[in-house]
């Protein structure tokens, strides 16, 4: 056991790589399988479809990843998203598109600030706080709309919705911009590093002179902002708002984050990993639809995939120790 041959070493490295990227490898294998067995999967139309599908929720998943890295969690993203869709459409119908855009983003930021204040200053548990604000905001949205969806026939909005480059609409473009921005912030700025430190060990971060309360606060503002932005992007596509939109968003975002490999305990992971999680979910469901699997059944598979990925991940981590 004292000497290792070079081929052995390369083999070891390959094994370590495969273990670390098990989810990615499985995803690629699945894509290859689909390309071979179902040519329609590989069509440009279907690819842009997958991209568009994952982009709206994907932006919120990035924000959720930041929150989880910082050691927090935000359930209210769902309700902020739903609120944003109805608020945006209704303001578009009254004050116009540009005020609607800014007012909706501001409302998302304000809701995030309330969450952030309660968690970082009043020191309440994030789960409880966001569970409460989730319910409150949902109630507010129902109250605002009387429960029914609202539509708009704003022509500019319809035109923006129709805009595309080779089938790629605005949403995936913003998704990619958000991805790059988040990667840069997390990996390359003091702000990002301090979020990792705060989530990695709150006490250490505090005793290092990091303004931990600020980071705990800002996490929720980021989620609020991104949820509102994603709500607007959905409106661009469907020109309608409803309190029921986004009801599975928060858990979807957490699922994508965890499948991607960001640990729920905080302090590590990243948004690039979350892209893998998003791809797993949207590719899988797109494929299931193409293969003719029923919608209800897909829910069940989503849960199984989540558990399976976490099991694989945990088993590999244990083995590596």
């Amino acid at each position: 056991m004292k000497s290792y041959s070079i081929t052995n070493d390369i083999n070891n490295k390959l094994v370590i790589f495969l273990k670390k990227r098990a989810v990615t490898v499985l995803l690629l294998a699945f894509i290859v399988f689909m390309v071979i067995s179902k040519p329609s999967f590989y069509s440009w139309g279907n690819i842009t479809n997958i991209l568009t599908e994952m982009s709206v929720y994907g932006i919120v998943a990035f924000a959720m990843t930041v929150a989880i890295i910082g050691g927090e969690f935000d359930l209210s993203a769902s309700s902020i998203f739903g609120w944003a869709t109805v608020f945006f459409i209704s303001i578009t119908n009254t004050l116009g598109l540009i005020p609607a855009f800014f007012l909706t983003l501001i409302s998302g930021i304000l809701m995030g600030m309330v969450n952030g204040f309660l968690v970082s200053k009043v020191k309440l548990n994030a789960f409880v706080v966001t569970l409460a604000t989730m319910t409150i905001i949902k109630g507010l949205t129902f109250f605002y709309t009387g429960g029914s969806p609202i539509n708009t026939s704003n022509e500019t909005l319809i035109a923006i919705g129709a805009f595309n480059v080779a089938g790629i609409t605005l949403t995936p473009i913003i998704f990619v911009i958000a991805l790059i921005v988040f990667i840069l912030i997390l990996a390359k700025t003091r702000f990002g590093r301090n979020i990792y430190a705060t989530g990695g060990n709150y006490h250490v971060a505090k005793l290092t002179g990091i303004n931990v309360d600020y980071y705990k606060f800002i996490i929720f503002v980021i989620v609020g902002f991104c949820s509102a932005l994603a709500g607007i992007l959905l409106c661009v596509r469907v020109q309608a708002g409803s309190a029921l939109y986004g009801k599975d968003l928060a858990l979807y975002a957490v699922t994508a984050t965890v499948i991607g490999g960001t640990s729920l305990s905080g302090g590590n992971g990243g948004v690039a990993k979350t892209v893998i999680g998003l791809l797993v979910m949207s590719v899988l469901f797109n494929a299931l639809t193409l293969l003719g699997v029923e919608g209800y059944f897909q829910q069940l598979i989503r849960g199984i995939v989540l558990i399976a990925v976490i099991i694989i991940d945990t088993v590999i981590k244990k083995k590596n120790k």
Binding site: K2, T189, R193, G200, N201, L207, T208, G209
Partner: protein, 492 residues
């Protein structure tokens, strides 16, 4: 040949790239207290983990009472009369004393007989010479009491051999005495104890035999009566250590910090002192005397109700640790794992975190600059790590402590508060940290050092403040003070 109750023969254990144990043979006689010493990384923990069945040796044999045995895991070890009490206790804070003692008990019935359990727990504590309510929740107990519970737990398995890993590391002097008394009683009952400690004085107080490990090999086995402390140190580090506390020339400069009438209800009582440039100011006192609270107040980690702090003649505001850092104060906390390091972070990221602005260009973190900083400190402080990218969780205690120091040096702190700077680290690394402290004060920095190890305070400080019950009882000169002087001040 049956004089050995435990014998491990030819134990070898390799981890990828490292030989942790190299053909180690280790024998313990029945009823003795056997010390196992060595620097961090010498292989003590690995050997104990093999003994406990947590990890498997690559080769070697183990004998209990002369019969060859295999230990498959912790439960098996307990069945065979082996218990290990780790430095970090294995107790559940929310459960009662009795429940903890019998947790995982061998013949645990499906239905708990609470009365019987309490009586048995009470009996075990009594056999150790103690009696307190076994219905108390473990989280409320003092460290010493928790240790007692661990020992009682070990006895509940009818353990014949108990391993104690750094049992005194967080005990006060009087608690330590109590522990030694218990050890002697256990010994009288025929229980064999393997005693792991960095505090060599203790070994001479209670151990019969000492085995020295170095770099995974047994260097020496001797009766304690046939060996001196200096000989043990020499064998542990593989060279002669001339002086425990390196000397320096004292150049006390102008006042850099003036603390006046610091007061915090029930915790700190009108604390006043000065700190000079290039000085090491020691703070001695018992655990709970307010030492750590004082340090936290000076750093901005804890509030104070009255009083003020001047830095370079100006009163400063200390609302948070950020203010402390901004005023060039740094604090190495007493628990590096809980409050000193982000364990998942690399060496680099742990060091640069105090001063990220210094490693950015146009507000973007520059990984090359970060790497250079880390490499500089790794070299300067002789941090033993395979790479600057290594996660600190994988480093030994001494090297972790150096990373904590590096982090505050990188923040350009002029006043360093060191709370128990050498706790749980080995002789060699201790000496290096002392040398580093001397170098820092020679460069014009000032150090406030808190320590429970009296010899360390006496050996390293220019002046010593003696604290007791939140008050400064007096001041001594490090050069001339003795341990008795300090204790006198505390008692009076």
């Amino acid at each position: 040949m049956n004089e050995y109750v435990l014998e491990m023969k030819g134990i070898t254990k390799t981890f990828p790239g490292v030989i942790a144990l190299d053909n180690v043979s280790f024998g313990v006689k029945k009823g003795e207290v056997h010390a196992l010493v060595g620097e961090n990384g010498a292989g003590k923990s690995t050997l104990m983990k093999i003994l406990n069945g947590v990890i498997k040796a690559n080769s070697g044999e183990m004998y209990l009472d002369g019969t060859k045995t295999n230990i498959s895991g912790v439960n098996d070890a307990q069945d065979k009369g082996l218990s290990i009490i780790f430095q970090e206790f294995n107790l559940i804070n929310t459960l009662s004393v009795a429940e903890n003692i019998f947790l995982g008990g061998l013949n645990r019935p499906k239905i708990v007989d609470w009365r019987n359990m309490r009586i048995k727990a009470q009996g075990l504590l009594k056999s150790l010479g103690f009696s307190f309510d076994v219905r108390r929740v473990v989280g409320e107990l003092s460290t010493a009491e928790k240790q007692l519970v661990e020992i009682a737990k070990a006895l509940s398995f009818n353990s014949k051999i108990i391993v104690m890993d750094e049992p005194t590391s967080s005990l006060t002097k009087s608690e330590e005495k109590m522990l030694f008394k218990i050890i002697k009683e256990l010994k009288a009952k025929g229980v064999t104890i393997i005693y792991i400690s960095h505090k060599l004085e203790e070994i001479f107080e209670i151990c019969d035999t000492v085995t020295v490990l170095r770099d995974g090999k047994v260097i020496d086995v001797n009766p304690v009566s046939a060996i001196t402390k200096d000989m043990i140190i020499e064998k542990m580090v593989g060279r002669t250590v001339d002086v425990e506390y390196p000397k320096r020339t004292i150049l006390p400069g102008e006042k850099v910090m003036e603390v006046k009438n610091l007061y915090r209800t029930k915790i700190l009582k009108n604390i006043s002192f000065d700190l000079r440039k290039g000085e090491i100011l020691g703070i001695a006192g018992l655990v709970g005397s307010g030492r750590t609270e004082l340090a936290e107040a000076i750093f901005g980690a804890e509030r104070f109700d009255k009083g003020n702090i001047k830095i370079n003649g100006k009163v400063i505001k200390l609302r948070s640790t950020r203010d402390g850092k901004a005023n060039s104060i740094g604090m190495v906390t007493e628990d590096r794992k809980e409050t000193g390091l982000v364990l998942d972070f690399s060496v680099t990221n742990n060091i640069t975190i105090t001063n990220l602005n210094n490693v950015t260009s146009q507000r973007i973190l520059n990984s090359r600059k970060e790497k250079d900083v880390a490499k500089r400190f790794i070299e300067e402080l002789k941090i033993k790590t395979p790479s600057h990218k290594q996660e600190v969780v994988n480093l030994s205690g001494g090297n972790q402590q150096k990373v904590v120091l590096a982090k505050w040096l990188f923040s350009n702190a002029d006043i360093l508060i060191l709370d128990e700077p050498t706790r749980g680290i080995d002789v060699g690394a201790k000496y290096e940290i002392y040398c580093l402290m001397n170098k820092l004060v020679a460069e014009g920095k000032s150090i406030i050092m808190i320590s429970s190890e009296l010899p360390e305070v006496l050996g390293m400080s220019d002046r010593i403040l003696v604290m007791h019950e939140g008050e400064i009882k007096g001041e001594l000169l490090g050069e001339s003070a003795s341990g008795e002087d300090v204790m006198q001040m505390i008692i009076n």
